[in-house]
Symmetry: C2
Subunit: 336 residues, 2 copies
DNA sequence: TTGAAAGCGTTACCAA
DNA sequence: TTGGTAACGCTTTCAA
């Protein structure tokens, strides 16, 4: 059980003080010759700085916390993986936590993560309206993905251009003759404002569409109230001819419900998602979605956060444009 | 920017030594009255122990490293999420890294993660045969998922009962009249032994099946040699009537290739996967798979690791039994 | 340019 | 049972 070498060991080896070695290894100071000699000795001994001691002394950990709203959602799982990868290629590592759809858990985890003293925070907020974000963002450089943190002006944001995305979808559906459309939205913990809901309602009215809005619980295991609601929706006498899930999981749930009810997609029912999860092309006849470019989103967020570590003005709001990907689950309207 | 209170602050507040406070807060020692008084003071000041200082002093971080072979694989993504969740419910947090299909990256990341001084390691090994695992497992309690680490007897393992799983699939296919079957296996970095390959070859021979084994690169973005090979396989004159992907992603790739070639599933071709990813029921007509119970796997692995932290004998090998889930991508053989 | 020494906030050892 | 005191391994300020 050979103990790993410490700074002191290296210092002794080269006959310098620990301080000198610390500086040399980080290239902060240096008679070039000394630096070289120190480097060599460190390599020879297999010295690696202890990140914990370093963090305690310097106050910086080199880690970035990722707080996910729901890893139950495949899109978010992919995003989390992409974020972790983007961080790693920039020499940082990820500390990951999953609120699993619970706003209270989100608050708790936020505390836990902050206690780990990460250098920054990436978050897909479940409840973007709580005041908690303000205090956190003041201490901890923060970038939110998907929703601006309304109480935290210091935080950066990478948001999807939802209005354009929703517009694209409604336009496409209207063009194909759909008039009765159901929109599946996530239940939000708070209700101070509902820009998405308001926007889509307005947009639908402008186009003369009849909209049903259904709120579904987050895709957590063990709550099937969502699928019950979907079955009710789709078996009603005056049922919609198209379902638009503002998250692919909701669209997938709609596909399941349709199958259970014996409805054929897209003949009896058109289905549209909103995230373009990895397997969307293979789902049923291929799920129509809005694609946001997951890797662009994650790269943008990580770039912004790392830039914001030194320079607070780098924290801004970046808007990601949508692309409509039309696949087989969407056809012309067939019912009267 | 109020500095957060330290142990010393609490100690001063209650007129005790930092040591006494530390013990009291952890409930290690205690005149009940004092403990209560200390607790109250800590709460009043909003004191929270600094995990970094704690880690430096105690040598334990409370974190567990998760090293994933390929987060590009949806099954692994789900597994990683489940592992993180399982850790969190037990008061620990996850440090996650993704080798993204590269065995060299796996080695590098292993070093990086170990430098973070986690208390334990959970790994889905890409290359279970390298000697690196031995040295790691000696210092760091380790549980491997999916493959035993052959060089590290100290490490625990949670493995899938692949023989039984493969047996179930071959039996089912044979029963339905399939004689020419292609098996899609991952390219492994090393080739000291290939138990899976040998086993399945033997099993096929026993049943009089004609087997084609195809090795595919890991599901990383940016390598399309796999899909080329699949198209070649499926357009050959004497092509297989069934494809068995030893990982759902391979089966999904096969579905894509079949679609591109105009083959109908399951009429022209049956497809079977091996992991039961979340959306398998919705993919095409529903992908036939072997299901290992992802949450069982992750709970088992985490349990074993945490038990092994105190008690090395808890590290054993647990074998997960398979369940065959028959869905629409599999039918009777149709070609001569 | 270098080195000595003082932290960083905790836990653990050892007397009392 | 309790409370000093010495680590833990590094960074950083301040003199030399």
């Amino acid at each position: 059980m050979a103990k790993r070498p410490t700074l002191a060991d290296v210092a002794e080896e080269v006959g310098l003080s620990p301080a000198a070695v610390s500086y040399a290894l980080r290239g902060e100071r240096g008679a070039d010759a000394t630096v070289e000699r120190v480097r060599a000795a460190a390599a020879r001994l297999g010295y690696q700085a202890d990140p914990i001691a370093r963090a305690l002394a310097s106050g910086r950990t080199g880690s970035v916390a990722i707080l996910c709203a729901t890893l139950g959602d495949p899109w978010q799982r992919g995003l989390a993986a992409d974020l972790a990868r983007a961080l790693r290629t920039r020499g940082r590592h990820a500390l990951m936590a999953d609120a699993d759809g619970s706003a209270t858990d989100e608050t708790t985890l936020l505390g836990n993560l902050a206690d780990q003293r990460p250098d920054g925070l990436l978050v897909t907020p479940l409840d973007p309206f709580t005041d908690r974000w303000r205090e956190v963002a003041e201490r901890l450089p923060t970038v939110a993905i998907g929703d601006r943190l309304s109480s935290a002006p210091a935080a950066g944001a990478v948001v999807y251009d939802n209005p354009r995305g929703m517009g694209l979808v409604l336009e496409m559906l209207a063009d194909r003759g759909h008039r009765r459309i159901a929109v599946l939205l996530p239940q939000r913990p708070t209700t101070p404002d509902r820009p998405a809901e308001d926007f889509i309602a307005g947009e639908a009215e402008r186009r003369g569409l009849e909209l049903t809005i259904v709120h579904l619980p987050p895709p957590t295991s063990g709550d099937d109230s969502g699928s019950r609601r979907l079955r009710a929706l789709l078996s009603a006498p005056h049922r919609p001819t198209a379902v638009f899930g503002l998250s692919d999981v909701f669209a997938l749930d709609a596909l399941r419900a349709a199958r259970e009810l014996g409805l054929t997609v897209p003949e009896d029912l058109s289905v549209v998602g909103f995230d373009d999860v990895d397997m969307a092309d293979l789902v049923g006849p291929g799920l129509t979605t809005v694609n946001w470019g997951r890797s662009t989103v994650s790269e943008t967020a990580v770039e912004m956060l790392l830039a914001g570590l030194d320079d607070p003005t780098a924290m801004t709001t970046r808007v990601i444009p949508p692309t409509l990907v039309l696949r087989g689950t969407t056809g012309p309207a067939s019912l009267p």
